[in-house]
């Protein structure tokens, strides 16, 4: 039904809302609930991680040496930067700085892309030497003691970083939409809710990586 929204000035108010503020608050609350479900989804994986680290601590210590800490660290910096720029984009929308709104969104998307490229390099290296999960683990050339269980670590590694990577891709799509809408001139001091909500999502993607990086790459 096309008549679902009523336009009042620049703010598209849904037919069932009394005031724009009510709608804004509801949108934010919905987003926070969604983020809670995301945390719980990753929570399951973190839980699996903890269980197996307790069962096989030595495997984790051995296996993590095969992750590239430098690339992981660069990716951490890249994502943190993108989190900053998305926050600045929201700020730019609030003060009606259309030029920097677009620029900050572009920088954020570029950072997300850079993250994925680095991740791709890491993945392809592991594919190459056979550090793969479960049955596909063929890294006979790599001298790892206790290889029976090392594959478990890589199973968890690929699941966690893979699921996170999917979130990065989704984030790029969302931010791309925001960029398109910014170019169209949808946002300004009176209406920046979608950018703010996308920003919240992006911060979560960043936050999850901040947990993944030390847990996977920096084990002692």
């Amino acid at each position: 039904m096309g008549h679902g929204t009523v336009t009042t000035g620049k703010f598209p108010l849904g037919h069932h809302w009394g005031t724009p503020n009510q709608q804004l608050e509801a949108g934010k609350m919905g987003m926070w609930l969604f983020l809670a479900t995301e945390v719980l989804i990753f929570g399951g994986l973190f839980c699996a991680y903890i269980v197996y680290r307790n069962l096989h601590p030595e495997v984790y210590v051995t296996a993590h040496h095969y992750l590239d800490t430098t690339m992981g660290a660069i990716n951490t910096v890249v994502l943190l930067t993108s989190s900053l720029t998305v926050a600045l984009a929201i700020r730019a929308a609030q003060v009606n700085d259309q030029k920097w709104l677009k620029l900050h969104l572009i920088i954020t998307i570029v950072c997300a892309g850079a993250f994925l490229v680095i991740k791709y390099l890491e993945y392809s290296h592991k594919f190459h030497i056979g550090l793969l999960p479960g049955e596909y683990f063929t890294a006979s050339s790599v001298n790892i003691p206790n290889p029976d269980q090392v594959q478990l670590f890589f199973g968890i590694y690929f699941l966690m970083t893979g699921l996170h990577g999917i979130h990065v891709v989704i984030g790029m799509i969302i931010l791309g939409c925001m960029l398109y809408r910014s170019v169209r001139g949808d946002f300004g001091p009176h209406y920046f809710e979608p950018i703010e909500l996308s920003g919240l999502y992006w911060h979560l993607v960043d936050l999850i990586w901040i947990f993944l990086f030390p847990l996977l790459y920096l084990i002692h």
């Binding site: 990753f42 929570g43 269980q149």
Partner: protein, 549 residues
Amino acid sequence: MGDSNATYLNATKGLKSWLVTIDHKRIGLMYLASVLFFFLAGGTFAILFRTELFTAKGDLFSADTYNSFFTLHGVIMVFLVIIPSVPAALGNFVLPLMLGAKDVAFPKLNLLSLYIYWTGSIIALCTIIFGHVDTGWTFYTPYSSNQGSSVVWMTFAAFVLGFSSILTGMNFVVTVHKLRAPGMTWFRMPLFVWGIYATSIIQVMATPVLGITLLLLIMENMVGIGIFNPNLGGDPVLFQHFFWFYSHPAVYIMILPGMAVQSELIAVFSQKKIFGYKFIAFSSLAIALISFIVWGHHMFVSGQSELIAMIFSFLTFLVAIPSGVKVFNWLYTLRHGSIRLNTPMIWALNFMVLFTIGGLTGLHLGTMSVDVHLHDTYFVVAHFHYVMMGGTLMTFMGGIYYWWPKITGKMYNEKWGRIAAAGVGVSFMVTFLPQFIMGAQGMPRRYYQYIEQYEKFHQMSTIGAYMLGAFFTMGAVVLVMSLRGSNFALDNPWNARTLEWTHTATPPVEHNFIGQPVVMYGPYDYDAPESSDTLESLAVRDGQTSETA
């Protein structure tokens, strides 16, 4: 007011107007139709395998077919019927009306959740038709981790359905927080809303864990990551932990909405203020909270430590407290009430008896030593059905009969409705009471043939299942006939005090209310005058008083 004859049903016409609607009432109705369709399918599977169990020998179909039939019955009934039954079907229709809102908080998300539900259902249906799933609805590893593509697809269907459930839950939580009408304080909300609110919280908090569990199972099947595979260093019991971390709260996702409907039915058909409103409201939240910390009672014999098992056993007993609080409050509401035995009330009384039996037998199973004897027997099957079917489905039916006049504008035949409801109650007892007895005597669940000793119990149970089929069919016919009849319903045929009866037309108009309703009384204040205040009418009245002053 424009066209005063326009209801939500005929405001716009054509198939497309339904498929792209964002009206919560239409979405609820489409959920209702889908759920009832799957109820028929799940029930048919039950009747088929009950027929097989009529004799001790396995003679009607093969053991594999039997296994896949009980799996399909379980998966369909849990994921496609009970979980969306009250919240998605009735809740979508009623919850915004009860709050005095024009729609749910995110109407488009609501429509999306329906489409996700349909997608999940279609995947499940295709797997049923083209595949072979015989893991039971619990998908336990290690058996399920090497069963190939059918299990993957069925799990994927459950995964997709989970998202639908999450979106509905999020929508309702935000709606309750942000869209209450002026004057609708938290403690003026009908208890139905409290129950659905508690359910939604569990849906949002527990379903993601099921999502990741099923994803891990899919990965296990497809690339053999080994997380649940002992050969690769994994642990199959971890799957049980993950699964029950969701699925135990999920049984409360299933029963809390039943309790929510029950509170409405008991109060309205006793024409009396409900006893202990706040206790009922908070007991829903208490059940929601406790539900997250009892999952271990499904695993008393799966090799968890004795200490952990004792803690889980103790926590499990705690659930009985809020459930007991509710039952006693409902009973006390009946006392000195003007009880009217309309069809919805018969369903509610069914619930009262059956749920109490189901709840109390839950304590047997929560007691560790007793559970060692009873686990994986028909006692568990009977307990589960008393709570899920005797509890949730009875009130689901009760809710359909209660809101039917509001939804359709038509009144059904009370006499036949009552017979159907009472008939289902009696047949239910015939079906499941023998299962308690044979379970206690040691009949294991999920067996396709069994020793002669249990034959008479199984035969009674099968006859009961046929009776259930017949009376449910009768109940459906009563409703369908009412659509063809011309017995139009009044706006408030039950003399209820909640907004969907007092402030809307029958059936409601497209945007629910004409003007914004204002709530002056509690949901069960039968002493208060039947109010029809709206912001506009109040403004007029205030205007007049200021003129006269």
